[in-house]
């Protein structure tokens, strides 16, 4: 019974720890589906986290904080869109620049609120009925509102991408922009919209960290989660549901390490902190090595700028 409840609490922690990565991965997924690779996720998350936290501290409103994070993330996405879609700059370098700029900018903006507590934070809102289901209730339905939001966003995104006309257009722009353009789809506006939407979701992921998961601001508080999100998109073969699975897997490793640290397992806490990174690298290698045998693959035009002849 004791071991059982610990197992459940780790699974529940996996969901909350996986949620910020999930938001960022969903954003990157949309962006990459339209053919734009954005390696600036880490920077967008950080700017989202700091904007959300600053706004929540100043206004005392969590909703305003979340909104600010979404807007800030969207602005970061817009920078990447302008650089790569309008100026047709190398997407890899522009993304790296976005991460470096976002890291610096967030550190610069957040200096005044390091160690400042938040008057209100997101707290658990158990869903009546569902939360009393054994195991699943605790794991999935005893969280805060931002976690529940992913339960809506993931299926919505899947439906949008695979079952609607605008979703089809978005995917076609990522697969073959020439064909899409010839059929009258506006490649530029779809790519712009996807890059901005990707930034908004990454910003929201950042806000989840600074407002709900660990309510505070610390320089570089994302600690590589943006990069793990980029890796997750590859793991997920660009499918929202698989991204959700991957995010919870990452969250599980993270939660397990944290639990072992607290219980005093004898393993140095620094090794436990390495685990999510090592795990992500190993998974990325396995997934890439076996990708050739699977039918799903990256969007055909991923990473290549589109130029009308």
């Amino acid at each position: 019974m004791m071991a059982d409840s610990m197992f459940v609490s780790i699974l529940s922690a996996a969901v909350s720890s996986g949620t910020p990565v999930l938001y960022a991965a969903l954003g990157e997924l949309v962006c990459e589906r339209s053919g734009v690779l954005n390696l600036g996720v880490e920077g967008m998350m950080l700017v989202g986290a700091v904007s959300g936290f600053l706004t929540a501290v100043r206004t005392g409103s969590l909703a305003a904080g979340v909104l600010a994070a979404i807007i800030a993330g969207g602005c970061m996405g817009l920078i990447h869109a302008f650089m790569t879609i309008t100026l047709r700059v190398n997407q890899v370098v522009s993304g790296l620049a976005l991460t470096l700029f976002g890291t610096g900018l967030s550190g610069y903006l957040g200096k005044s609120v390091i160690g400042v507590p938040l008057s209100a934070t997101f707290h658990q809102v158990p869903i009546p009925g569902l939360s009393s289901i054994p195991v699943i209730g605790t794991v999935l339905f005893k969280h805060d509102l931002l976690v529940y939001l992913t339960y809506i966003v993931v299926p919505f995104l899947w439906f949008y991408l695979y079952r609607t006309r605008p979703g089809l257009h978005l995917r076609s722009v990522g697969e073959s922009p020439e064909t899409a353009d010839a059929l009258g789809v506006n490649v530029f506006s779809i790519r712009y919209a996807s890059a901005v939407a990707g930034g908004m979701l990454a910003g929201l992921g950042g806000a989840y960290l600074s407002l709900a998961y660990a309510p505070s601001w610390l320089e570089n508080m994302t600690a590589g989660r943006g990069w793990i999100a980029v890796a997750l998109v590859i793991f997920a073969v660009w499918d929202p549901f698989r991204a959700m699975l991957g995010a919870y897997l990452f969250g599980g490793i993270d939660a397990l390490g944290f639990r072992m640290q607290v219980m005093g397992s004898g393993v140095s806490s620094f090794f436990l902190k390495m685990m999510p990174y090592v795990f992500t690298i190993v998974v990325l290698i396995i997934v890439t090595a076996t990708a050739a045998r699977r039918s799903s693959r990256a969007p055909e035009a991923l990473g290549t700028p589109y130029e009308r002849e």
Binding site: L87, L100, T103, G224, F270, V278, T280
Partner: protein
């Protein structure tokens, strides 16, 4: 009903004058953008920039400190640039730098009584080997399985930094360090000598030698030719019988070895003991430096000095309350501006006034 619209038209060729001016233009642009951020947070940009310039370049002490700071950046950036020649993104210089420092520290700490001529060469070798090994980990999956090296090299940075944290909090902690996470200090023999009575050390000689060597190898040897061809046209290289996989592994390992050497030089000459505050992000600055220097080793060396100055200037600007993070922000802005000016060189920007009814286009060259 006039709507202004920006139109980008492709130029036939980038003018040579623009190629020369564009990096300068990028720096000016980023300073202007940085000024906007500084103004928005209540600083006088002129005052901040003056303090930065004054701290980094106004006297010999400032210049020597700028050079000291440029050494680790230069070594990391030369490696990043070499790998980038083959379209490999080594975002892991930060981790390779730390692993190099670790290995060098291990040699220094385990040979406390040895003379300098024994311990220093071993530290150099250990530092380079550890850096190369740390780059080998992502290089092999990249070469043989096509695993994205950007993500793996970056994630390994976190692993390397936690490894350093583990060492200084655990097995290497100096019992007399009052619980600070520091190792015991190195013996004098394990300290890389300073030059010219300043803190400039032999690392600068290593870095300049590396720049010369890379310049020579890329321009004058068969291997350098292979690297260039693989970077420009992998398919042609494959047809010509070049071993792309082996070259990927090799160039990544050289990049790692250079970053590792940077870590060795920094810990041996400057820190003198293992600490967790070895680098304010030299390995990340290196990416920007490599790009700003257009992957040319001499240009990379020159830009490294500029970035050394930026960091040193950043420290002196802290006197008037500007945080160190503002320098990181400025570096990021610089990379954006470089990319933008490069792109603008390729396109002619025109402001087109779309007259709704007549459909006339009035172009203004910009």
């Amino acid at each position: 009903m006039n709507a202004l619209k920006l139109v980008f038209e492709k130029r036939e060729a980038v003018s040579p004058a623009y190629k020369f001016i564009s990096p300068l233009l990028a720096i000016v642009m980023s300073l202007v953008l940085g000024a906007i951020f500084l103004l928005a947070s209540g600083f006088s940009p002129l005052k901040v920039y003056y303090y930065m310039w004054w701290g980094a370049f106004s006297d010999w002490y400032g210049i020597s400190e700028t050079l000291v700071t440029s050494i680790p950046i230069m070594l990391c950036a030369l490696g990043v640039a070499l790998a980038a020649k083959m379209l490999l993104w080594n975002v892991g210089a930060e981790g390779q730098f730390h692993m190099g420092a670790c290995a060098a520290a291990w040699v220094a700490l385990s040979m406390p009584g040895a003379p300098a001529w024994q311990v220093l060469p071993l530290m150099v070798l250990a530092g380079m080997a550890a850096g190369a090994l740390w780059a080998l980990l992502p290089a092999v999956p990249r070469a043989y399985l096509g695993v994205n090296e950007i993500i793996t090299t970056l994630l390994l940075n976190y692993v390397a930094i936690y490894w350093v944290e583990y060492l200084v909090h655990g097995p290497w902690r100096d019992p007399v360090s009052l619980n600070f996470p520091l190792s015991a200090p190195f013996s004098d023999a394990a300290r890389l000598p300073f030059l010219f009575g300043t803190r400039i050390h032999w690392g600068l000689v290593f870095a300049l030698a590396a720049a010369a060597l890379i310049w020579f190898v890329l321009g004058r040897t068969k291997w350098g030719y292979e690297v260039t061809v693989i970077g420009e046209n992998p398919r042609a290289a494959r047809y010509a019988g070049m071993n792309i996989e082996r070259n990927i592994v090799l160039s990544m390992c050289i990049a790692g070895a250079l970053a590792g050497l940077g870590g060795m030089a920094e810990i041996s000459a400057i820190a003198g003991r293992m600490t967790r505050q070895l680098s304010p992000g030299y390995g990340y600055s290196a990416i920007i430096v490599a790009w700003l220097g257009k992957l040319n080793p001499w240009a990379v060396a020159l830009v490294s000095v500029l970035f050394g100055g930026l960091l040193v200037g950043g420290y002196s600007a802290q006197v008037i309350g500007v945080t160190a993070a503002s320098v990181n922000m400025l570096q990021g802005l610089m990379l954006f501006c470089v990319l933008a000016t490069e792109a603008l060189g390729r396109y002619r920007v025109r402001i087109v006034r779309e007259v709704a009814r007549a459909g006339k286009e009035v172009g203004v060259d910009g």
